[in-house]
Symmetry: C2
Subunit: 218 residues, 2 copies
Amino acid sequence: MSCALVVLSGGQDSTTCLYWAKKHFDKVRALTFCYGQRHIREVEIAKELAEEADVPWESMDISFISQLSPSCSLTNLELNIEEEKREGDPYPTTFVPGRNLFFLSIAAIYARNHGIYDIVTGVGQADYSGYPDCHDSFVKSLNATLNLAMDEQFRLHTPLMWLDKMQIWALADELGVIDIIRNNTLTCYNGIMGDGCGHCPACKLRREGYQKYVNSKD
Amino acid sequence: MSCALVVLSGGQDSTTCLYWAKKHFDKVRALTFCYGQRHIREVEIAKELAEEADVPWESMDISFISQLSPSCSLTNLELNIEEEKREGDPYPTTFVPGRNLFFLSIAAIYARNHGIYDIVTGVGQADYSGYPDCHDSFVKSLNATLNLAMDEQFRLHTPLMWLDKMQIWALADELGVIDIIRNNTLTCYNGIMGDGCGHCPACKLRREGYQKYVNSKD
């Protein structure tokens, strides 16, 4: 009986991974992190998505990571999220340094407690080249580090690593869940479900990918 | 101006590292983690040790790691600490899986916020071969992972990696602080300073090393 844990944020990418995991593993669990997100509604949405997918779900409070990065706009409401980059800072303000390091490390410990060694994450480097902790080399290095840290054989799966947003929509369609992804997930930085506010960077990227995919089918 | 961050628990090993860092770097800071330790007094002791060494000190609450490992005796008062191993479990009950993964990852983010890229930790594999996250291969792998996660060049220093307890006492003596280490640090699992309770595994290891070192000088 193969078993996988999906790190589920409730966005397009991780929800697509949830259904990818359901196709490739006999049993799937989902874990959602609360870390002082701007939109706590994300956690509720993740729960509803897991229920819809008939997958056991838990959330875990890791708000300590907000302490570590006081200047990040996703966890600090005083910053203007529209202003994507600060002067002299190579990363967008939404960048929590090392965020995926913690997400995946905690996911590995949680998975191990459930006898699970396959962990699925929606990180990818096609659309997020500015985030070093979404890169393939980082995930592979972390995989080796986790195995050494706990003397186990974890496998970190990144089905979206080399896919752009258009290809992620294509994957959702192939998995038969494009409507669930389109209507029930939350990617928008302004907290609006589905197609979102339409003008934040996450909405733009999502919409452009969707339009490209729909056009490619014509 | 070289600058290092020392992860300081207030025990023999990390306090020896604090003085090792003071010798090798122009400026030193110390960081102590609170994580639901059995003896919160450890944190106070670490603070006093940093003051004595004239080193800026901060503590950080990372008690979330207790959530991750409900069966660990250092963070769960209901377990009997004397009973070193549980049946069928290859690790002592004091083992928090992946503990050093979190300590060093958080230390790296904290250090980066202070413009510090040299991090000193007292982990070593001579006396703790049962803990995979004290092994040299783990620390080196984590160093590479941290650099990839944040696109930085951290250096994790482990001056005690290959030293046994006797050699750690010798290092303290060489650094001119053997009395501080002997009297003001806390290694004992039962929370007693200096020579400790005398019968827990940590006290035994510490005392045997000290006696060997004293004998070696005769």
